[in-house]
Symmetry: C2
Subunit: 440 residues, 2 copies
């Protein structure tokens, strides 16, 4: 039996760390008032395809009915944004706007099996969706939340690159290039970082662009141009271009005011391939792990919901998506997470005397009733084997008692971290353990 | 745009209740030392089919490659037990035995769409798996945990019916009926409660069973027979039958000792269709909702892992599965859950003066830094509209301040539940709100 390539899973001790990390992320999302939502893993194929981009989607069929077309209209979601758009389109009348939600859950992509490619991975998304309008200040909030998440995960070399799509489209429009031509250039810029600058130049040259524009685009691609927004204003006086710069300034200001003061840089070469963004764009990377590429990203979308449902209303939104699966291997190496308690229970109650099972069970109930997570070892093994189990699983405390001790309602409490032990009466046991837990 | 039949999802306020309920269940599982695991949604088709029973499995195909057979070997899991068996077979060498795990997650069944049938639903499973042996006492623990879960969910009319498969097979063997014949009779008994007793009788008569046996089986099916285990012993002296009664007695004793004293009854007609059970069997129902049928069930399986992987070792296990999706509609009507706070944030900071955004943001940071989940309303609406939003979303507290108050670092704190308000200095705000939260 082998695991399936592309579908990661964890050993119990690792899963404890994963659960802790997802809990930290959830806590920060809720600290800002985002509420959770869980949509089904399955959406209609039509809904998923409405996003336009080509994705590796897994369709579903009934195994008992392999040729049957009746349920061929269902597929697994490939991100959490399209399901959000469908949810807003469907329940818009019952939601409070601005609608702030987070969604932590798996998505699936039918990649051909290859090393380093996940076919199921976990996304942590936040989005804020307005009705008719959504102030730009919310773009700054989303950025601030993501920055706080990376701080809380002790990933302090996180860098967030920012752009605004209006800057690019305004620039193109000022040279009379729109729609198809602009789209072609955007797809070339999307390859910055993947292809060499020489290759980018060659691809741009094939587009027969004005020389000035080519120079500006290559400055963007190489980072040779200014990243000072006031200086950039002089590049082009097209209204949309200037609007993009104004928005970018405001978003960075609000993010600052929200407390996100570090590691934000303007990067005009950032385009993000996804076609639904209409304004703010951002993408995060880790300086220490450039090979990971983008670890979070997102932006402003003006009309995602409307693309799914004919609606009289518009629902502009802004969001960010953090791909946690690829980060987990890095996070699990960190001392701060490796130091976690790797078993859910604090105490293992060992059983030496098989005639006294009911007394051992009474003792473990006493601990649980006191709110202390407790496992009782019911397998009839030697005390030595039970201590080995406690050690291997990482219990902080072990309770040992023989028949005489049970009779006298007293136990030996072993503290496996302090490597100490003490005799404790049953009626003081919860209190003694609570105190030890508080000290750790 | 319509939701997809069979794939339930929730509005934000309902989702808060669902999250709370799953949190309660998780906490009880961990109180007994069960650790979480999350296996992928996807398994190999061969693994899923190894369980033998016929299930409505959803297979996967790549949408871009509808005829391609290459990835046709993958499918969505239909329960959490088969993935557990595969996990133990795969990582057995790295697990601590007895291995206690819980898994809360969705499963999928490719049912044809019809009212009341879910195609995605959430299971809450606990299992304990041993290596070579697993004392019967663990069967009692699993029962006790499930009883505590139903108590914590305020479902006090929960009844757990118990049986042991050895009783049935021992009885059949004492009449010289084994394997195929016994299997046929078992499948008829599995229909008790779904068919009338007259229909059961007719089906059994077709099997040409000895008259004494037919009478015993009909007594089982109708509940007319004794449920006193000592009396039942006299029915049949076959070794396996007597062994089944002994095990049933011990499991009920241990469950008692674990604290599960209520609502357990012996029901010899309980067979549970799934073919992998080898001993203890149980099934829970709610007296007030008989139409729901079984709301949890499980039992002892002797060789589930071995059926998946040729192994030198045996891995006996015992588990229980709680189907939470069908319970949610009942639970959400309960006053105790409806009284929950339906927004993750405690405080809404309103913004009256658009020139003072940075001061409002500073105020909301002050609250968050104090650990109080806080949403700031950044849309430029009237205070009245903002109060309406706070009320609709269910915020307990609203902070109001005009430009002069911001300047003086003072706010008006409105308590929407108490319908009161007070002026509070910024430096006392966290403390005042914490105190109010503690009082609620």
């Amino acid at each position: 039996m082998k695991g399936i390539s592309g579908f990661p899973e964890w050993l119990p001790q690792e899963q404890r760390i994963v659960d802790h990390i997802l809990g930290v992320i959830r806590e920060i999302f809720e600290l800002y008032g985002f509420g959770s939502v869980e949509t089904p893993a399955v959406e209609k194929v039509d809904t998923l395809l409405s996003k336009g981009d080509d994705h590796e989607i897994y369709g579903l069929y009934r195994l008992a009915d392999p040729q049957g077309g009746r349920q061929r209209d269902l597929a697994l979601r490939f991100d959490l944004t399209v399901p959000l758009a469908r949810y807003v389109a469907q329940y818009g009348g019952e939601l409070c706007f601005p609608y702030k939600r987070y969604h932590i859950g798996p998505v699936w992509r039918g990649e051909r099996p290859q090393a380093g490619r996940y076919r199921q991975f976990t996304q942590c998304d936040i989005d804020i969706v307005g009705q008719e309008e959504l102030p730009l200040a919310y773009d700054g909030e989303v950025i601030a939340v993501m920055q706080q998440v990376f701080s809380a995960l002790h990933l302090n070399d996180f860098v967030l690159r920012l752009n605004n799509r209006k800057i690019f489209f305004g620039l193109m429009a000022s040279f009379g290039l729109e729609n198809i031509k602009a789209g072609k250039v955007l797809r070339i810029l999307d390859k910055v970082g993947k292809l060499s600058l020489a290759d980018i130049l060659q691809l741009l040259q094939l587009q027969a662009l004005p020389k000035t524009l080519l120079q500006i685009l290559m400055d963007m691609a190489s980072g040779a141009g200014s990243s000072d927004l006031q200086e950039l204003r002089s590049l082009c006086d097209h209204r949309e271009f200037q609007q993009g710069i104004t928005e970018l300034e405001e978003v960075m200001d609000v993010a600052d005011e929200f407390g996100a003061t570090q590691n934000m840089i303007v990067d005009l070469s950032l385009v993000r391939g996804l076609s639904y963004y209409t304004g703010t764009l951002y993408e995060g990377t880790l300086k220490s792990h450039p090979s990971l590429g983008s670890v979070c990203g997102g932006g402003r979308y003006g009309n995602l919901v409307e693309r799914l449902a004919a609606s009289q209303k518009s629902f502009p939104g802004v969001g960010a998506s953090l791909g946690i699966s690829r980060l987990l291997s890095i996070l699990m190496q960190k001392e701060v997470f490796r130091g976690l308690r790797l078993t859910p229970a604090w105490v293992l109650v060992t059983c030496q005397d098989r005639q006294s099972r009911s007394a051992y069970l009474k003792l473990s109930r006493l601990l649980r009733d006191g709110g202390i997570a407790t496992e009782i070892y019911l397998d009839q093994k030697s005390l030595k084997a039970q201590m080995k189990y406690a050690d291997k699983k990482g219990f902080p405390f072990v309770v040992v008692a023989n028949a005489q001790e049970l009779e006298a309602e007293v136990v030996v409490l072993r503290d496996l971290r302090q490597k100490s032990q003490q005799r404790v009466n049953w009626d003081e046991l919860v209190e003694v353990i609570e105190k030890k837990i508080a000290e750790q």
